[in-house]
Symmetry: C2
């Protein structure tokens, strides 16, 4: 599992002292090749962190050999000095590994608006480089956690179908962190995926974009977009097996879907995981827009926390989507919650008391627009006392 599930990778996670808790806070992932293909997608926030600015440059040529990640500080809104800190971190790791800073990706996560303690960070990078191991994926996953309560990892066997026993296979491994500030643009704050399949950089880039579009981009925990969101794919080719574009896309999508689901399940303070599925839309974009409007309704999300199947709040959220974005007739909308059709043709349907939310962590809201064939599902969480608590006390 994790980033070392694929062949050709080593990883590590260490305590550098960036976190006041004394928990692991620096991770390194190294691609030992033979390929050094890389792709990445970043937050679309116009206010982005220094490591995002740096890593965009690094991956522009479709190549990278390592990633250094830290929790305990986002290095965002830190000006030219913050960018210099990121540059210095990459130079430092490259120096230790004998590689190039220009092939060294950097990711940071934590509080915005504070400089990183560089002496501790660089000593941590030395330590992490010394501890790199082909079974280090779990330690790396643990070192990137912030308010996550568990590490998120995945391993997917690629190919065109079930492999014969003993037949050679290629693998996608991955780790992610991000229990808050999950929102579109990118859902997770940090994710590193690895594969030992043989693919070129154009294929890797296209597959990663499609996989994230269908998974991380459809998780919206609290409507807030991060300054640091980064999803990286490193390709070692160490299996010697070539993956087709379709095969890689399928495997990456499965890996990202698993990690996305883990992020939702561990979102800050949540007591319910909510899947909002829109069917009958005239286009996929329309379905996503309607689902997203519901996942962003604080009133609906607070009702779910209260185990209240308040479908009126679903409809009032759906109704905020402009006609230019989603075609529908308000008098034809149907809404089911966990299988009970509480709203029929825009009006009262089955008895809402038939819906059991108290007994289910997972809530499925199904909205039928009766306007076409397209569908989409967006995941979110309920709005809870614990969410408010964690996010009101986070920086103190």
């Amino acid at each position: 599992m994790s980033v070392t599930a694929a062949q050709g990778f080593r990883a590590s996670g260490v305590v550098a002292g960036l976190k006041s808790t004394g928990k692991p806070d620096v991770a390194v992932v190294v691609n030992d090749g033979p390929l050094d293909v890389a792709a990445a997608v970043f937050t679309s926030n116009r206010v982005f962190a220094a490591p995002v600015a740096w890593s965009r440059q690094v991956v522009a040529d479709g190549r990278a050999t390592s990633v250094v990640l830290n929790s305990g500080g986002a290095n965002a809104c830190t000006g030219p000095e913050g960018f210099a800190d990121t540059h210095r971190t990459a130079e430092h790791l490259a120096g230790v590994l004998g590689t190039s800073a220009g092939d060294t990706l950097v990711c940071s996560t934590g509080l915005i608006g504070e400089r990183l303690p560089m002496d501790k960070l660089l000593a941590g990078v030395d330590d992490a480089a010394a501890q790199l191991a082909s079974n280090g994926g779990f330690l790396a996953a643990a070192a990137i956690m912030t308010t996550d309560t568990v590490p998120k990892t995945v391993a997917i066997t690629g190919g065109s179908g079930p492999a014969e026993p003993g037949a050679p296979t290629w693998t996608v491994g991955g780790m992610a962190k991000g229990a808050g500030m999950l929102a579109p643009g990118l859902a997770t704050m940090l994710c590193v995926l690895t594969t030992d399949a043989v693919v070129d950089s154009a294929t890797a880039d296209a597959a990663l974009r499609e996989a994230t579009r269908l998974t991380f981009d459809r998780v919206d925990s609290d409507g807030c977009m991060s300054t640091n969101d980064t999803v990286i794919l490193l390709v070692s080719g160490a299996s010697g097996l070539t993956a087709t574009a379709a095969e890689l896309t399928t495997a990456l999508t499965a890996a990202c879907a698993s990690l996305s689901r883990q992020l939702v399940a561990d979102a800050e303070g949540a007591s319910h995981d909510v899947a909002v599925e829109v069917v009958g839309a005239h286009s996929e974009d329309a379905a996503v827009a309607v689902a997203r409007a519901v996942t962003r309704s604080n009133l609906f999300k607070a009702a779910v926390f209260g185990n209240d199947p308040n479908w009126g709040r679903v409809l009032s959220a759906v109704g905020t989507v402009p006609e230019s974005v989603a075609t529908f007739d308000a008098d034809r909308l149907d809404v089911s919650i966990n299988g009970v059709q509480v709203c029929r043709a825009g009006g009262v349907g089955e008895d809402r008391t038939l819906v059991d939310l108290a007994g289910n962590r997972e809530v499925r809201v199904l909205i039928d627009l009766h306007a076409g064939p397209a569908t989409a599902t967006v995941w979110t969480n309920d709005l809870t006392h614990d969410y408010v608590h964690e996010n009101s006390a986070y920086s103190s």
Copy 2:
């Protein structure tokens, strides 16, 4: 004060039994003329309640003589039967008053997706009609409350400047309710304004739209848009004094600003009132869009609840506004919170611990985009435990 502050109006508020608490829940406002000019603006939600559908028709000719309002039920998402209930309510009041249903506006507020108990409501309308009085404005304001803790009322003396003592004046009176689901499109759920100035319907309509654009449309308590939002202006002309378009707009804007501020101060569960002021924008729309992005950030609002001047969350919200909407350079953004410039040129400014949020209910966030001359302010509240509590338990 309230809707009877202006001459030519009577109002009342009674207990009809729609609320389980036994508190007042039906209000009537009557315009005794001599004019019967009316204007109204409604929610832009595509899912709108039966009384909104009805009242849009009534006011289309710029005339109305009375308003009947109920709390204890929104009559939204209730299908053709719900519309028939609204129609019947208007017919009933018109029958009692000897007026026309086609001049009778209807407003409802409360839970979505439930039919109103018509026997109780119509008996309440009889009662309210019998109790109409020229000093009934406060009782009417109390009868439209839902989770509001206090009635919201206003009275503004109109004119071109301070009047000579004893000189004749005209007045704008008003009442509003809406402690939750405050959002753009319209901020309040229900508001009735009255004036005894002499104006025509085109002037009334234009002045009301401009006043609401600058006030209710710039309050965004929780980002959620109601199905029932309605702001009505009734013009009696009873003062015999003609108001110019500019004078009426000024007086209505002052009245709406006062009511908006009262709504924010009484928003569900809030412990801080937050004014987000954007300056240096290239256009007013850009300033509003940036301010709105910040007022909708759950992370920022939870931080305010925790008395944490977390300017990084301000910047990460600002950064979500597309370049096509607001021009700015992320490296030039300045942010002050209650006068302390915590962010300078996109980076760390003054020490954030200098900001005292614990000692102030009012929080002023000033964002300078350094991109032009335009400004705008949007009001919101913090995100609190009590908000979650009230909105998770509301329908049960």
